[in-house]
């Protein structure tokens, strides 16, 4: 069937005026066969495997982008959680491995490499501990390496020992990059119920259920959804949901096609399509502005969670029909520093840290890109993480914390991270201590899966 004039116009408008883009093409690579008791050999194997599998990633993506006329913003790599390779390694060796990954990413021209990670939701074993010890230095001495640590799941509970350590890791990583506003923390996520096929940074890693190598694609389009909604100012909420659903469908279809073409040309299987509304600092490319378009004067006011829940669900419904392999975190990201509307909400005092926490109950991820005052104690950071992990654990969803204590800054200051990471107003943490709770350590037991209400 021939395509109609107005359909062609719609696609062109989405790309050129409403910032529709393929946010990321992420190649997942399994590194398990690189394990070797001799660190030098392992280091070399890791480098060789990544650079040989991904050698054409950026050039193929660039060609597809031109032929189809849809920009692909990021090319990324996710790898087997590095802690699984580190059995006998020392902390210094672990930091060296991070530098090797950084070098591979630079040589390949990929923006980020994710998977400097450990899954410690039940217990911390030897390799995990080495990774946790190495994290602050690894992230502060590299540019493109991202890390994540899973400290809780619905089935295993919350590993509070890991939560305790992560508070310290974050504070230390921030101190080590104090000249750059604690930027190392922007590359580190703490997870509850992480997914194995997430193509989005900083939380991407290549899980153990994944294949040898795979192409996952993340699409985003807050601008497209916002503009679609603007055309129906009088629709009721059922209508609003319908508009978002239809728009999400089209965005997902575009993403799946691009993903399959890239995978095909690289001779790799296509993994998943992650349809997440992920904002950028571009004009009108904001999740908060969608919520405001639905009917809030400013994001954070009463009704915000209802609007977010409606939007998140509609996005998933549209995406679910459009692609047979929807995965990752599909839904909405609500990072503060990357979303002009969220920044405005905090500046106008309509949006608080507490409301952001509540919003994570219905969004797809969690507390993301939040700047807090530099003197936040590790115990308070751990407390913040524990709260967020509990939300994810009880509600059987993924939640995450990416929080950046900014050295030398206090509540109310503005901090610039630059580039895609944007800028954020610094928020204050609760002044009262969580020290005793965090010091108790141990594991919060997994919740009952019946008697749900």
């Amino acid at each position: 069937m021939n395509i109609a004039f107005n359909e062609i116009q719609e696609t062109i408008r989405m790309v050129q005026m409403e910032s529709l883009d393929i946010r990321t093409v992420t190649m997942g690579i399994n590194l398990k066969d690189c394990v070797d008791p001799d660190f030098e050999k392992m280091d070399q194997r890791v480098y060789d495997k990544i650079t040989s599998y991904a050698k054409n990633l950026t050039s193929v993506a660039a060609n597809v982008e031109k032929e189809y006329g849809i920009p692909i913003i990021n090319k990324r790599i996710s790898i087997t959680p590095i802690a699984e390779l580190l059995g006998h390694a020392t902390k210094d060796e672990a930091v060296r491995l991070a530098k090797t990954l950084d070098k591979a990413a630079r040589v390949l021209g990929v923006d980020f490499i994710g998977g400097y990670s450990a899954l410690v939701h039940k217990a911390i074993n030897k390799g995990d501990q080495v990774l946790l010890d190495a994290l602050p230095e690894a992230l502060s001495q590299t540019e493109r390496v991202c890390g994540s640590v899973s400290v809780a799941t619905t089935r295993s509970g919350i590993n509070m020992e890991a939560v305790k350590q992560m508070g310290q890791v974050i504070q230390k990583a921030s101190q080590l990059t104090k000249d750059q506003n604690g930027i190392a923390c922007a590359k580190l996520v703490v997870f509850c119920n992480p997914v194995e096929d997430n193509p989005f940074m900083a939380g991407a890693f290549h899980g153990s259920g994944e294949g040898e190598a795979v192409i996952n694609v993340g699409v985003s389009g807050p601008g497209v959804v916002l503009n679609a909604l603007k055309r129906y100012p009088d629709a009721d909420l059922g209508g609003v949901s319908d508009v978002i659903k239809k728009t999400a469908f089209k965005i997902t279809r575009a993403g799946e096609l691009i993903g399959r073409v890239v995978a095909d040309r690289l001779n790799l299987p296509f993994g998943i399509m992650d349809l997440s509304l992920a904002p950028t600092n571009a004009m009108n490319d904001s999740v908060a502005e969608i919520l405001e378009e639905i009917g809030l004067e400013r994001v954070g006011t009463h009704g915000t969670i209802a609007a977010l829940a409606l939007m998140n669900d509609a996005v998933k419904k549209g995406g679910a029909m459009a692609s047979s392999y929807v995965g990752g975190l599909s839904g909405a990201f609500i990072p503060v520093s990357e979303d002009n509307g969220m920044i405005k909400g905090i500046e106008d005092k309509s949006l608080s840290l507490d409301k952001l926490e509540a919003m994570t109950c219905v969004c797809s991820v969690g507390l993301d890109m939040i700047a807090v005052s530099g003197d936040a104690s590790p115990a308070s950071l751990s407390g913040l993480i524990a709260d967020e992990m509990a939300i994810g654990m009880i509600n059987k969803k993924t939640t995450a914390v990416r929080v950046i204590p900014v050295p030398g800054k206090e509540e109310g200051d503005m901090v610039e991270f630059g580039g895609l990471l944007g800028r954020a107003p610094v928020m204050g943490l609760n002044p009262f201590s969580s020290e005793k709770l965090i010091a108790r350590s141990g594991r919060i037991p997994a919740p009952l899966q019946s008697l749900i209400n």
Partner: protein
């Protein structure tokens, strides 16, 4: 040979010679125009062409030739493979 089709879209201020220049580039690159539709929307010249690109080796080269005309006449010219429209709007 199987047909591979692309959509060429041209948007900009109406003036003499737009169609001539764009189709000249297509002809130079041995591309057949399969369908063409053109309208004036609020003073803006808007044209969509469906072209057969199965003989074109490099869309990139074509786009750069279009870019020169874009600059010259103050237009926006894009070429995109047809599949993207098919997959977005057709189930």
């Amino acid at each position: 040979m199987e047909q591979k089709r692309a959509v060429v879209s041209v948007v900009g201020k109406d003036q003499v010679g737009i169609i001539a220049k764009v189709t000249a580039i297509l002809a130079d690159n041995h591309m057949n125009v399969l369908d063409i539709s053109q309208t004036i929307l609020q003073d803006f010249f808007t044209m969509m062409m469906l072209v057969d690109v199965s003989r074109a080796e490099n869309l990139d080269k074509l786009q750069s030739e279009f870019d020169q005309v874009s600059l010259e006449l103050g237009l926006k010219i894009n070429i995109q493979l047809e599949d993207i429209f098919q997959s977005m709007h057709r189930i």
